[in-house]
Symmetry: C2
Subunit: 462 residues, 2 copies
């Protein structure tokens, strides 16, 4: 018997409540016990840290569709089982897999020196001897968009779009398109390769990778991201010369269809017939770092919160954690889950996929339709310095099933000020997590998931 | 005619002093003019920034003994000439040159994942297929020293010695031996390769390179430094398993004897028969970064200070800048210079080779023998928040000639708190320099070099 199972059994015994009480929302005593558990998590949670420490050490990088991602699923199933989760399941799906190869860049003239870069997901390969061509620089996505058709024929396009540091991550929304569709846009204008300034806010020689998508009818070209200091250097060269030549070598490969999968586990509720609460994160990571903040921490937070809620007393509704596979390369897991579970009703979904820094805001998609519950949640997390917002919740790549069902959705918004220093870089490693901030996440999640999973009535009325 | 030559000519005209006055120390008016020039440098110096911006952009990495270092010498000679320095000279010498090749590490078992590392200078190569062996970990240099003879036979030694962050750089003195002689020590105990924790204070996936030396009679083995996050990860693996196996591939090469050289230039003094003031730095860098702080900034500071002193009025003594070659791989330039100039008397030497952060302390080696001058220097830099110290000056790898002659020596100690985040890493790039702190360096150097180069009497009496 696991530690959690023991706790569940004793909690159930302690409750000693009549059956009728067990199908209603939290009573005062249960509410107090849940609040104490959240407070205790803030003080001393070790479950989340142990999860992310274990995953990053024992598995490390776990790119979607690779053998390493399978090892991560095996690791996660073992962990969930040991932690007392029920119905630990792997749901496989097939996906297209791209993997990195060699990646080198060298300024040939007028100022010979190497540049540090990484290929973007879905980048084409260069010929084996690389590409040698002149660089044409653009300050922004808009400037590239303005370039005449055909004007980049035979050239390497360089997009030097700067990303701004913001708490809510909105800087990514503005700079992201440079990576998402910039290469395709450059290719459509004749470019034979593209290098972008990293979509990130740090100043280290650790470039940011991430997926790029080529529009239909546009032949993929080699596409890579320079580290920010390298982008600065290339800008200085272009300020001095209109004939900067680059040698670019990228040898990524498409592996075709490979297997990935979603992993789930449950804290079974007192009334399993009620629609469950879904806690999502993704288990895959990019290959450059060990995926501590993206998204080891997210799965750690969700799983630790579910554990603490169970420890406070068996919840009314089942809590299911969804460790989605293959998020980074196209939300394959989230989409597969939505397809497989389209007909299963869910009460509410929450996702953690924005690092390990503290939660600063709570949003729901029922502040009007279920104002009482919304206010209850806001009041319950005030003591953790979290503010309520009437902005509608709806983020979460891996909550496709929730978004399709238009059911309940809660966002626990994390502070993203430093997130894009690390996201998709080699620097996404365990040492970047502040244990105190991670515990604050777990505390807030415990409080919120505890209330939601003990809510007897519908959470969001359509 | 260059801008500086024009300024020198007009300054000489402005002085309009009798010849006798020109051979004595600074008078009050000249002293005021020098102080104003230093103040102006603090406010608005652009010479140092332009130097390091130009060198890192137009040359970039410039490892000793390579073609890139020759390009740096050509660049520096052109720059010194344009800046109005006289007697711009290259003094070539030959040296042994080692260059980096491929470098990869992979944990084979029990937790397969790649590790980020860089070869140390003078590392041997692994066989083409790499080395596969068990890792034996040591917490410190002392622990490795205690390992029984032969106990590392067939193993990869891992030295996880932590470096402490200090203002004065003393942490390097304690941790440095791990890199300087740790690999030799491990080899002498039978190790077939060695990986060390980077001798540095950062937390990025940017490992620190640097030279290592194998003792006579010890056959060199492959030797590399893990980034600090990777060292932490390996420690966690070793805590879980006593059978961690690593695959290590390093393909560095020894090129044999290649050419390097020192570059010098002068601000000619009013009395060229007096021993000159020598300002040293090194022009070479490690290959991973662009050598902005190590030591582009040092040469920038020395050359900018000499320029400002000249602008304030032709100094009494000649000021010579020495951009030494091949410091990083064994002070080849400093030693060659000392040999070639053994019989030339120097008045005093100063070196800048500790980054670009502010100067916080002034030391001399004449606080007893020439207390008046020592105090004059201390008083003159107080306004830049620099304290005087009676600790004896004597640092400066490239001041070998000064140390051998036991002549005057002044240390302008820089704040090294952040230096070892960057030193010898890919992150040693221009963006790491704070222009305000760089200007403070130039101001203090201008003030001190101005006083020293206008000192008529001996600076240090033996």
């Amino acid at each position: 018997m696991t530690k959690l199972s023991l706790l569940l059994a004793s909690a159930a015994a302690l409750l000693a409540a009549p059956l009728s009480a067990q199908t209603s929302s939290l009573n005062a005593a249960d509410g107090d016990r849940l609040a104490s558990m959240a407070d205790k998590a803030l003080e001393s949670d070790s479950i989340a840290w142990d999860f992310v420490e274990g995953l990053t050490t024992e598995v490390g990088p776990r790119q979607s569709g690779t053998e390493a991602e399978q090892r991560a699923r095996d690791w996660a199933k073992k962990w969930l089982t040991a932690q007392g989760f029920a119905h630990v399941t792997e749901e496989p799906f097939m996906m297209d897999t791209w993997v990195r190869g060699e990646e080198k860049a060298q300024v040939l003239s007028p100022f010979p020196q190497p540049l540090t870069l990484v290929a973007l997901g879905n980048s084409a390969a260069t010929p084996a001897e690389g590409i040698k061509a002149q660089v044409v620089g653009f300050d922004s996505y808009a400037a590239l968009a303005d370039a005449p058709e055909g004007s980049l024929k035979g050239k390497i396009a360089f997009i030097n779009h700067h990303m701004k540091r913001t708490q809510d991550g909105s800087g990514y929304g503005f700079a992201g398109p440079v990576r998402w569709t910039g290469p395709s846009l450059a290719a459509s204008k004749g470019a034979i390769a593209v290098v972008i300034r990293s979509v990130g806010t740090d100043s280290h020689r650790t470039p940011h990778t991430g997926g790029t998508t080529f529009a239909e009818g546009v032949k993929p070209i080699p596409a890579a991201a320079l580290s920010n200091p390298d982008a600065d250097n290339l800008v200085r060269m272009l300020e001095r010369s209109d004939d900067v030549k680059l040698h670019l070598l990228l040898t990524p490969r498409n592996l075709g269809q490979t297997r990935s999968g979603n992993v789930t586990g449950e804290i079974v509720g007192r009334d399993p017939s009620l629609p469950p609460v879904l806690l999502a994160c993704h288990l895959d990571s990019w290959d450059l770092g060990t995926g501590a903040i993206d998204d080891g921490a997210g799965c750690a937070i969700a799983a630790a919160a579910a554990s603490h809620v169970a420890e406070a007393g068996q919840p009314l509704r089942t809590i299911r954690v969804l460790f989605a596979g293959a998020e980074e390369t196209g939300v394959w897991g989230g989409k597969a889950y939505a397809k497989a579970h389209a007909d299963e009703p869910f009460a509410v979904g929450l996702e953690s996929d924005f690092g390990a820094d503290r939660i600063w805001q709570l949003r729901t998609n029922f502040s009007d339709s279920n104002a009482e519950l919304h206010k209850k949640l806001v009041r319950a997390v005030e003591r953790f310095s979290v503010e309520g917002s009437n902005r509608e919740a709806g983020s979460g790549e891996d909550l496709t099933v929730i978004n399709q069902q238009k059911t309940g959705h809660v966002d626990l918004a994390q502070d993203g000020t430093h997130y894009f220093d690390l996201h998709h870089t080699p620097d996404d490693t365990l040492d970047k997590i502040d244990p105190a901030q991670l515990r604050q996440n777990v505390a807030v999640w415990t409080q919120v998931v505890g209330i939601l999973s003990n809510e007897a009535g519908p959470i969001k009325t359509q």
